[in-house]
């Protein structure tokens, strides 16, 4: 059972890492979501015990560890908030750059920086001329 959990968490992390390295911003967000699921699965597996739900009155036999399940619940909620934040950021980027591709966003940024540098240089030349 531990091996299955380990393999599943490893596979999820691998899929997530692959998606995060894609050029499409939406896939990057999906990759972060899948990696957070891998983290949740790791937390659940870290209890290393499987049994009944730990609710009083306790049943006879093995019970599962409530601590790791509480941590898993926390990680689910944090994953939800992270996903929402990332989606809003991607929407803003699409709004501003009219593109979802990281390449195009990077090109736009370079072009913007070039125009800003040019304006800056022009301003300096004016200042130097005024000083002379």
């Amino acid at each position: 059972m531990t091996l299955i959990y380990a393999l599943a968490a490893g596979a999820l992390f691998g899929i997530g890492a692959y998606l995060v390295m894609r050029r499409d911003l939406l896939r990057v967000v999906l990759g972060v979501v899948v990696i957070s699921q891998a983290a949740t699965l790791t937390l659940m597996a870290s209890a290393l015990g499987f049994g009944a739900a730990p609710i009083y009155p306790l049943p006879s036999g093995a019970i599962s560890d409530p601590l790791s399940q509480a941590m898993a619940l926390t990680s689910v909620v944090i994953g939800l908030a992270t996903t929402a934040l990332l989606l809003v950021l991607v929407l803003r980027v699409v709004d501003v750059f009219r593109s979802q591709g990281l390449d195009e966003v990077a090109e736009d940024e370079v072009a913007q920086e070039a125009t800003l540098d040019a304006e800056h240089a022009l301003g300096h030349e004016d200042e130097e001329a005024a000083a002379r």
């Binding site: 739900a53 009083y56 619940l73 989606l87």
Partner: protein, 145 residues
């Protein structure tokens, strides 16, 4: 949008609400609570938003426009029941009637204040999720803010 989602999404809300009620009720003898019930209902509502678009989804279910107020009410209910204990000298999150005392029954349903706490949490989680989807949908599809 695929035709399967278009057919399933509007009909999924009823079963989701029944499932949520079952999860809240069985939560006092088994695994289940207001958070998971809220997430299930919110998922069904999210599917409605995806298939109908935010304007049609909110016109067909006007209560969705009241989501911020519902979230606030749920949070206040959960806080009030969760922190009623310290007001009468008990620890926080004490439930009444306390363990071992006799409980008011409606059929086989047992009324304890922990259920009210979970209902508040259910309302808060569902409505907060709806607010989130509403704003994301409006950002993505445009329209009045």
């Amino acid at each position: 949008m695929s035709s399967i989602i278009g057919v399933v999404a509007p009909r999924l809300l009823g079963p989701a609400l029944i499932l949520a009620a079952a999860i809240i009720v069985k939560g006092y003898a088994d695994v289940g609570d207001g958070f998971s019930a809220g997430v299930i209902v919110a998922t069904a509502l999210a599917l409605r938003y995806v298939s109908l678009g935010w304007e049609l989804a909110e016109r067909s279910l006007p209560v969705l426009r009241r989501a911020p107020q519902v979230a606030t009410a749920g949070l206040l209910i959960a806080l009030a029941t969760g922190f009623a204990g310290p007001l009468v000298g008990d620890p926080p999150f004490t439930h009444y009637p306390r363990a071992g005392e006799s409980v008011i029954h409606i059929g086989t349903l047992e009324l304890i204040t922990a259920v009210v706490f979970d209902l508040g949490l259910f309302l808060f989680v569902t409505a907060a999720f709806v607010v989130l989807i509403h704003h994301l949908a409006r950002l993505a599809q445009g329209g009045p803010r």
